[in-house]
Every structure is written in structure tokens, then in C-alpha cells.
């Protein structure tokens, strides 16, 4: 019976058509992959060419020269970015992880829904609005711009990124792993720190890196909060602190309380200067910014791979 049916169709033709379809679709997906990669490679190569020329040691270790003169570096922006991103991480990561833990352990409570909803809203708020918020709440209250204010608004930007990615990663931890610890009589907090967090560490760190990359690249919120500061130099502040016998808190206070610059902020300012050297330098800043984010990602990945092999 069945053979009768199949004797009427040309199986070879069916197979040939399937092979052809397979080849065409495979080719199409490959082409799309290349198309998707073109913008990325284009940007990297273009920035490398335009910015690479101006990269030298001086560029990293000197403050900017006055407008219209050549030379000078972007030490102020590198240090400012570092300070503000560290501040943002300190402000945002602990609450974000706690929120993610709450969301995974109390999945369907009204508070969990509220947190999820507001996190999504926060992720959708334009970053310049977050900057205005920082201006109204911190800058106006303190009556001056500061790295601290910049750190706070960057923290607000990081918050939803870290919460949602950490939540996804924590969800992947098998429930019996947590139950195993609780079954030994461990309290919930110890279970979270010793068992659940390490089990999800790789994914959470990747999420944090995404947040840090996002914060490092933000310009708009810093316009209203950190403002910019051509003379931001941590080394100098520490040296002065030592000379005047100040405590470490005084020095840290100065570092946080001064207006600060950041890489994207400097890029933006330099790019609209009438001086060609400045515009050229802005390309170099773009390159540094790109490499900074890239190396952060690579470092995190190397660390994860090391940790994984150390455990095996």
C-alpha cells in the first residue's frame, strides 16, 4: 500500500528541492550575520584609524592644555569616569542584587509585580531626565556640581539593567540547590550568599558589566550633575591631602565633591570645538572609551573562565 503511494512521487526530486532550500537558507542566514557585523566592525575600524593617531602616553597622563594649543591629555576624564562609575557601582549593585533576590524568592507577590513594573519604567526613562532629577535633588541641594551627583545618576541608570539581568540569572539556579541549603538548617541570607549567589555569579557579573558599560557611555545625565572639570586630578588631590595632613575622608570628600569630567562628556565637548586639534582629540577619546568598555568585558570574561577552570 505504502509503496504504491510513494511510487507515484519522485522522491529524488523532493530530496533535491530540500537540499537546495537548505543551501539557500543557510546562505541567507550567513549573509545576514555579515550584514549585522558590518556596522560594528566599521565603527571599530573607523574609530581606530581616526583616533589611533593621537593616542600616546602623554594623552593618558596629562590634563588638557588650554584651548587653541596642541598637546595635552585626558587624564581628568579617565579619572572622572573611573570615580563616577565606581560610585555608581557601589550605589547600585547592592540594592539591585537584593531586589533581584526578592524578585526570585517572592515571585508573585504584589510588591514583586510593583518592583518589576517600576524597574521596566525606570529602564525606559530618558537618561537626560535622570540627569535633571539629579540636578534638582542633589546639585540644587548642595549648590554645586559634583562627581557624587554624577555617580548617583549613573547608579539610577545602572539599576534596572542589573536588577533584570540578575533576576534572570538567579531564576536559572535550580530550586533544589536553595532547598538543599535550607534543609540543612541554613538561614535564608546565608543560603543566598554562600550557595545561590556563587551558582549564579557568572551571569550576574556579565549583567553588572553590561550596567557598567552602559553607565560609562552615558553623557546626557552628567551634563546636569558632574558638569565637567578640566583640572580633575586625583593624584594632585591626594598629594595636597598628604601635604596638609588631612584624613583619608577629607581627601575622598574632595574627590567626590568636586565637579568631574568623564570620557563621553569630554568627547562631546571636544567634538564641537572650533579647534581642529580638539576635534581630532575627540576621536582619540572615543577610542579610549571604546577600549575601556571592551577591556572591562574581556577582563570579566577572563575572570569567569579562570574561576570555572579553578573549580573543575
Amino acid at each position: 500500500m505504502a509503496q504504491d503511494i510513494f511510487s507515484q512521487v519522485n522522491l529524488q526530486r523532493v530530496y533535491r528541492r530540500r537540499r537546495l532550500t537548505n543551501k539557500i537558507m543557510l546562505g541567507l542566514t550567513g549573509l545576514m550575520l555579515v550584514l549585522a557585523l558590518i556596522p560594528l566592525i566599521w565603527i571599530i575600524v573607523y574609530v581606530l584609524i581616526k583616533g589611533g593617531r593621537h593616542i600616546n602616553l602623554d594623552f593618558f597622563i596629562h590634563l588638557p592644555q588650554p584651548m587653541g594649543t596642541t598637546g595635552g591629555g585626558i587624564l581628568h576624564a579617565i579619572e572622572g569616569s573611573l570615580v563616577m562609575v565606581v560610585l555608581a557601582s557601589v550605589f547600585s549593585i547592592p540594592p539591585a542584587l537584593l531586589a533581584a533576590f526578592y524578585l526570585t524568592t517572592h515571585e508573585s507577590t504584589p510588591l514583586a509585580s510593583a518592583i518589576r513594573f517600576s524597574t521596566d519604567l525606570l529602564a525606559g526613562v530618558p537618561s537626560i531626565t535622570v540627569g535633571l532629577f539629579g540636578y534638582a535633588v542633589i546639585v540644587l541641594a548642595q549648590k554645586h556640581y559634583s562627581a557624587l551627583a554624577g555617580g548617583v545618576v549613573l547608579a539610577i541608570i545602572m539599576l534596572p539593567v542589573v536588577i533584570r539581568s540578575a533576576e534572570e540569572m538567579l531564576k536559572l539556579v535550580p530550586p533544589d540547590l536553595r532547598a538543599g541549603s535550607l534543609a540543612l538548617g541554613a538561614p535564608e541570607w546565608k543560603t543566598a550568599i554562600k550557595v545561590v549567589l556563587p551558582a549564579a555569579a557568572e551571569g550576574i557579573i556579565t549583567g553588572i558589566m553590561l550596567g557598567v558599560a552602559r553607565a560609562t557611555g552615558e553623557t546626557a545625565p552628567l551634563l546636569f550633575t558632574a558638569l565637567g572639570n578640566d583640572n580633575y586630578e586625583i593624584g594632585k588631590m591626594i598629594k595636597q591631602g598628604i601635604e596638609h595632613n588631612q584624613s583619608i575622608f577629607d581627601v575622598l570628600g574632595r574627590i567626590f565633591e568636586q565637579p568631574a569630567d568623564a570620557l563621553p562628556l569630554t568627547l562631546w565637548k571636544y567634538a564641537q570645538q572650533p579647534y581642529p586639534e580638539r576635534v581630532e582629540q575627540s576621536w582619540a577619546v572615543a577610542l579610549v572609551l571604546m577600549l575601556f568598555v571592551l577591556s572591562l568585558n574581556i577582563l570579566a570574561r577572563v575572570w569567569i573562565a579562570r574561576r570555572r577552570s579553578a573549580l573543575q
Binding site: 517572592h106 508573585s108 535550580p174 533544589d176 540547590l177 536553595r178 532547598a179 538543599g180 541549603s181 535550607l182 534543609a183 540543612l184 538548617g185 541554613a186 538561614p187 546565608k190 554562600k194 550557595v195 556563587p198 551558582a199 555569579a201 573549580l311 573543575q312
Partner: protein, 261 residues
């Protein structure tokens, strides 16, 4: 089969467990005897695991769980409001279906429990770890790599590590939720041998889908089935030999001869 006198370790009185409005098990009354292995068998979804997890209050972790009836551990109700749940879980340990070693070294996995109860001295911990790993028949295989991750072990070794972790806090009862169902036949055999050995020190309650396993390892067997209302109930409880050779209920006979389930 039993000649020594039996001491009742756990007793449930009309135990029912609800998940929200769903009744998972209904009116289960069973006695579990000290230093014996009690097997819980029955078709999927009949509430064996729910019953098992109610014996150390692990069901508390599932939101909206409610319990009616009593679970007596040495004649004290573990669901009494004054009862400390941590103390229950220290006295009644559990081994899960899928091996779940913590993401830390073999040593730290076993020392995790003792450390929770304030044991900090390295020499004491080392002693407990060795003793527990020996007790779980794993010591010889891992004694030279105690600082390696528990996750690097094979499935069968991971499960024995989890058993070592459980016995490290010297519980009185060990619950096992299909402890060998994720393992190959040889690893299964080792776990079964281990269960027979552990029986000398602990009271063991084991859920299994494998009736030969129940017949091999257990002294007593409780047969559960799912009622028309989808709630699990206890059909028959007796010495394992009797359940498998001369069951009193027709349903039990049908199940163990493979006619349903």
C-alpha cells in the same frame, strides 16, 4: 523479618497538605520506625514527594502551602507554633532527586552544615568531613582532592557527596527523594548498598519509582495512590515482604504486578 523491638520515630496523624486550594495529600496516617528503611511507592503525582517533604517542613518553602493533621517526631508535633523549624531540619535531613552539590569545594560542601551550627575549628571540621565522607562511601575516591569543586564529580559521586553533607550534621532521620533516579545502574547499586549501611545509624524514608529498589532496600513500604479528587492517599502500609508477596489491598497487588501506574 523484624525481630528486635520497634521504636516509633515519626508518626503522621491524618496528615493533609494543600497547595492553595489544591489538596495534594489527604489524611495520611503512617508510622515510621527507628533504624528501618521505609519506602514510599506509588504512581506519579500521588503525593509521595509532598508527603516526604512535609516530614522536615521543606514544603514551607512553597508559597501558600497549608498543613492539616500532625507530624510527630519523637512524639512532638513538628508543625506546632512553638517548634523551631531549623531544629527540625537539623534532625531530619534530606537527599534530593538530582544531586545538588553546592558550588564550592568537596570539603566545604560537607563542612557547610557543621559550620552552620558553630563548629569553626579546622581540625574538628576535618574530622567530621572525613567521617561523613567515609560514611557515604566516598572518602577513598575524593580524599586527595577535597579542595576541588563538588561539581567536578560524577553524578553518582555527587549524590554520595550530598549524602555525606546530610549526615555531617548527624540527623536522626534521612529523607531521600528518588535518590538514584538520575543515576546509572552501577551508581544506583552503590547508593542502595549505602542505604542498607546507613540504616544502622539513621532512620530512612525513601521515595522511589522503582519497585525492585523498594523491595531491595526497604523494611517497610507505604503504597500511595491518587484519589478521584487528585489528592494522594495511603492505600497500604506494611512490612516490605508482605507488601510484595501478600498485599492486603487489591490495588496494591495490581500496582506491584505492573497492571497500572
Amino acid at each position: 523479618m523484624q525481630t528486635q523491638t520497634l521504636t516509633r520515630k515519626i508518626e503522621t496523624e491524618n496528615l493533609s497538605v494543600f497547595y492553595g486550594s489544591f489538596k495534594a495529600i489527604s489524611d495520611v496516617s503512617v508510622e515510621i520506625y527507628e533504624n528501618n528503611v521505609t519506602a514510599l511507592i506509588g504512581p506519579s503525582g500521588c503525593g509521595k514527594s509532598t508527603f516526604l517533604r512535609s516530614l522536615n517542613r521543606l514544603n514551607d518553602l512553597v508559597p501558600k502551602t497549608a498543613v492539616a493533621g500532625k507530624v510527630l517526631l519523637d512524639d512532638t508535633d513538628i508543625y506546632a507554633p512553638s517548634q523551631d523549624v531549623v531544629d527540625i531540619r537539623r534532625r531530619v535531613g534530606i537527599v534530593f532527586q538530582r544531586p545538588n552539590p553546592f558550588p564550592m569545594s568537596i570539603f566545604d560542601n560537607v563542612a557547610y552544615g557543621p559550620r552552620l551550627y558553630g563548629i569553626k575549628k579546622k581540625s574538628v571540621l576535618a574530622e567530621i568531613v572525613e567521617e561523613s565522607l567515609r560514611g557515604a562511601a566516598l572518602w577513598d575516591e575524593v580524599k586527595d582532592k577535597l579542595d576541588k569543586s563538588g561539581l567536578a564529580l560524577s553524578g553518582g559521586q555527587q549524590q554520595r557527596l550530598c549524602i555525606a553533607r546530610t549526615i555531617a550534621i548527624e540527623p536522626e532521620v534521612i529523607l531521600m527523594d528518588e535518590p538514584a533516579s538520575a543515576l546509572d545502574p552501577i551508581a544506583t547499586l552503590r547508593i542502595e548498598e549505602l542505604i542498607r549501611k546507613l540504616r544502622e545509624r539513621f532512620t530512612i524514608v525513601i521515595v522511589t519509582h522503582n519497585m525492585q529498589q523498594a523491595a531491595r532496600v526497604s523494611d517497610y513500604t507505604a503504597f500511595f495512590n491518587m484519589g478521584d479528587d487528585r489528592a494522594g492517599y495511603l492505600v497500604e502500609f506494611d512490612e516490605t515482604d508482605r507488601i510484595f508477596t501478600n498485599p492486603q489491598q487489591k490495588l496494591t497487588e495490581e500496582y506491584i504486578t505492573g497492571r497500572f501506574g
